[in-house]
Symmetry: D2
Subunit: 351 residues, 4 copies
Amino acid sequence: MKETRIGIIGATGYVGVELVRILSSHPYARITHLVSQSFVGKTFSQVYPSFLGICDLMLTGADAPEVAKDCDLVITALPHGVSSQVVPVLLSQGVKVIDHSGDFRFRELEDYEAAYGLVHPCPELLSQAVYGIPELYRKELAAAALTANPGCYPTCSILGLAPLLSGKIIGTKGIIIDAVSGVSGAGRKADLAFSFCESAENFKAYGITSHRHTPEIEQECSLLANEKITVTFTPHLAPMKRGMLATIYADLLPEKLDMTGDELRELFVRFYAGDPFVRILPSNSAPETKHVCYSNFIDIGIFKDARTGKVKVISAVDNLGKGASAQAVQAMNVMQGYPEGTGLSNLCGCI
Amino acid sequence: MKETRIGIIGATGYVGVELVRILSSHPYARITHLVSQSFVGKTFSQVYPSFLGICDLMLTGADAPEVAKDCDLVITALPHGVSSQVVPVLLSQGVKVIDHSGDFRFRELEDYEAAYGLVHPCPELLSQAVYGIPELYRKELAAAALTANPGCYPTCSILGLAPLLSGKIIGTKGIIIDAVSGVSGAGRKADLAFSFCESAENFKAYGITSHRHTPEIEQECSLLANEKITVTFTPHLAPMKRGMLATIYADLLPEKLDMTGDELRELFVRFYAGDPFVRILPSNSAPETKHVCYSNFIDIGIFKDARTGKVKVISAVDNLGKGASAQAVQAMNVMQGYPEGTGLSNLCGCI
Amino acid sequence: MKETRIGIIGATGYVGVELVRILSSHPYARITHLVSQSFVGKTFSQVYPSFLGICDLMLTGADAPEVAKDCDLVITALPHGVSSQVVPVLLSQGVKVIDHSGDFRFRELEDYEAAYGLVHPCPELLSQAVYGIPELYRKELAAAALTANPGCYPTCSILGLAPLLSGKIIGTKGIIIDAVSGVSGAGRKADLAFSFCESAENFKAYGITSHRHTPEIEQECSLLANEKITVTFTPHLAPMKRGMLATIYADLLPEKLDMTGDELRELFVRFYAGDPFVRILPSNSAPETKHVCYSNFIDIGIFKDARTGKVKVISAVDNLGKGASAQAVQAMNVMQGYPEGTGLSNLCGCI
Amino acid sequence: MKETRIGIIGATGYVGVELVRILSSHPYARITHLVSQSFVGKTFSQVYPSFLGICDLMLTGADAPEVAKDCDLVITALPHGVSSQVVPVLLSQGVKVIDHSGDFRFRELEDYEAAYGLVHPCPELLSQAVYGIPELYRKELAAAALTANPGCYPTCSILGLAPLLSGKIIGTKGIIIDAVSGVSGAGRKADLAFSFCESAENFKAYGITSHRHTPEIEQECSLLANEKITVTFTPHLAPMKRGMLATIYADLLPEKLDMTGDELRELFVRFYAGDPFVRILPSNSAPETKHVCYSNFIDIGIFKDARTGKVKVISAVDNLGKGASAQAVQAMNVMQGYPEGTGLSNLCGCI
């Protein structure tokens, strides 16, 4: 296999460090550039001492053309509004990009501008960008120059809903996604709200009537259902570092009310046949975040609530794994023509 | 005020120890009897060394008539099926009882027997028992000999729904309660599933299609709405010791769709006027479990999701506080004619 | 009893909030003034929503003369160097002060200036200040206008060593104090090092060759032993919010080598006879931080290591309890002539 | 490289699952047999769902001769007293063994029998067994048929003391090891003491005057110093799943009192030159457990306490990594002639 030289811009955030961890064991990837504005002149392992002897690269400033020189592919883990400044420069140098921000996830300019309150500097790229869920866009990713890596909540939610929506099993109104994230979802920063003493032994909802991941979920659900879908979404914060779980509620269509739980589950099994990182759990089994942490897996449990005619889907990912960095590596494998599980298939949590 | 002599049967479980903590500062209550089958012959503080010098009572075996001799009121924290053996004996000795099991929470015998799979030995007591939420049954509690202290999930859910149901604001179909508990809800026991290494850094759903608190929630919601209500309920476990949060979803009735969030909130304020332990949060504020832990408060935030026509209510309690022991003391205050907040009004979490 | 009107300057830090929690239930104390530079114009319960309905006082700026007007006693929880500006003003208005900083803990000016690298603006107050451990300075506290509340590590260490030093049981060279604190010891602040993701699942030492509590420990140990004592002290940080444990190692003097563990323990029992907040544990029992959290207790276990001729003392406090706020209230009780345990004797952890 | 077929007996404990995690990515190892008495007939991934798709081997009962048939090397993770029954059978079939119990760690029969209170059934194996710290016994391991994998505390302590003892830098009396472990050190079991509610937010010492790792530490220290050494050792339990930190105190010999901290550090650098998994931290840097978790590294910081003439060494390992399973794989690499870091050199924590 041909080696891919990889740069990471935004290397010292939690998405960045997880990328470095995964790519350090990837047989065909070689990290050539780590950019971190805040730590220029330090080595990566000075910022993350656990990497001493594993990744001691020097961190550099964010000169995109410079980065482009020795990279085949750059992964950007930057804030929205910043990515859209950097990505066009990289692309113009012939470098492929996987972007972690919200800047390239929307198909419609107005959706982006409504969600993020920004004018997009390069709207022409929106149609080129591929939404980076390989289970849904594998073919497009294989040809992509720009991949928009999805948000963690959208990945967890969309994959939990896709078989039901594309199979026309559920009503498209009244879908509820009640989801929970570990604290690393808030990023690496000095913020009292995410301090140990304020976060430990606490559980709360946030972004209750407006969270930027809502329109992203709705965009993909609408495409799957081939009609405009509005969802009710509530994110929560749990006192753990990593992990995400979505409990999804939808009404079975009247004509599908007699489907059994096993039949619903079978629908998922068939939909995800050939997708190595989607694990449809046995009947009556529910996922737990610890079973997916440190991995690229999404675990999905499907339940029929016969009393109320609802289906409950429970899906779990690592917010930094399948919800961010590991999925980016999965997309990179597809983009570069490597077997999709390269460097990912043995990643798993332990205790 | 006349002193109340109190016995606790099941004193060394987590509900028991929280009762001892609260009652140790109660000005009119005196603990005279602590029963714990498993620790007979030890003192309470040998089992819970934090109580050394605060409660050093000897633990005794469970001879109900003996307990009745020196108690005015007994609080039972026993498994279902066991309570129903002990409670009639206590009542027959003229002792009042507050029971923490499911044995006396149901109005209809068949509901109990369906939920717990047991034949009830004293069904005649069901109609005498008062469901121990003072905010809903204050008058009945004042006259009660037997109080059935509600489950933690029901307390948190019912108080979050009561103003909406009794005010005829929401549709009675499609109500969803997505709730989260700390690990102490599972009780004090040696169980691998609740060990530190299996519970820390983990989040999961459980009892997904059948949890014994569902029919209890439905019973009280049906009474409030004056029609039969079925709810969808999903409990989850979060890696924290204490605390419970319910995120409740309901559809505004078509004729109520133009109510603003503030009007919905105002409805709650009026409904709970005069209830010292219900705190309706300011507009657009959401509760956090740490704000209610160690207290008898329930904090409630109300949100209108205009995009989907739903109301979201988020309510938080301490599963051992308002969700169990503190609420039992509140009920005891009402039963004994003490000011309702006695011994409870200064309890609060800190950090 | 005569009521004491109390002001707290630095009310929204963790020491401050714990003071408010304790004083809210104190029968003779009334909080009249809460000062918090950062939150002027907010109520205390807006900063700490758990206190909604319990303490809704308005927070004010730090005008010491203004505070003095309606207070009998002010508790300052300010950084070192700031306290020494404020305290003299308060004293000059005839107000008693309990100070939580390092500014008044040293008897010798040079010790202070070496430890804190500051010129002391009011060195004349050092001789007036009483070091606020009631178990050692009860008589002096009864007459004090200015109490210097000790650091958490010193409280935990000094009380663990006092009977051995004053009883001439151990060698005065080679004493080692290996201690551990919960994260709240670092205070309430936005600091990446104390964020949830950086602190959870982590254990580390810090301040390894120089920690400001070392000279404070040495000062009091030297006074107890009546000779100059140098100790080796290593603080550590554990992933928990509250709690502190010190494991203390000392060599038995040659002539004391045949003392049994029980005899050593008996020495502690006698030394602390009449001290309600020192709990000498039964033989071969070791303290745990959870047993003292939320309380004013210090739990002490004494062990003889016959193989090496050492005595190990293990002492535990809540770093915010006996290690800070609760001890301040204990000192206040002594200063104001209240029974020493007022408002403190029923405080205990639960689970 | 020739493949090694590996069996694990005791595969579902925490040491076992960490072995499976590491070996699943090892290029020359193939797991052929997983034995777990308690879960016979289940697959490994049914017990640990995080391994679904990664290790789905069937768990079998503990018939040693059967295991020997298709294994070149067996790793036993069994209780002491059980290992010594199984290991001789395996060896007699020509299979190499790495044992995790205390049964083969002692050179002197009487030390074993004193520490474990058992009669050893095969004392003749004690002289054949190699103590499995590759940094100290690399050559012996290369020829070993039976490796006794050290305890976690001994690994962390011995490697922190070895350069000082073999270099004759410190006094051999008065060495103190104050160490802390995460809860996984207690193993996978249903035990109230290690439940989430009893362990979270708690810190305690245990085994204060007698812990079985003490004589193991003393044996190796004595060999390094070439004289009989007695140490004072206190283990503690911190509320985290994984990780171990030892704070070691020793007196510099009078003639070494003028060595600087940097000179002491340099001694460690030289001693561990060529040891890829020992990371001597920069001057004045202290290890943190999160930096070594999930890896095979031991991080060591060296500090001179000039005031007291002591050296403090702080060493950190993952109790399941370098403290158990990862070190076993390192030993296996040496025994099988693989490069020592095979399958281990990219393992690291992240957040």
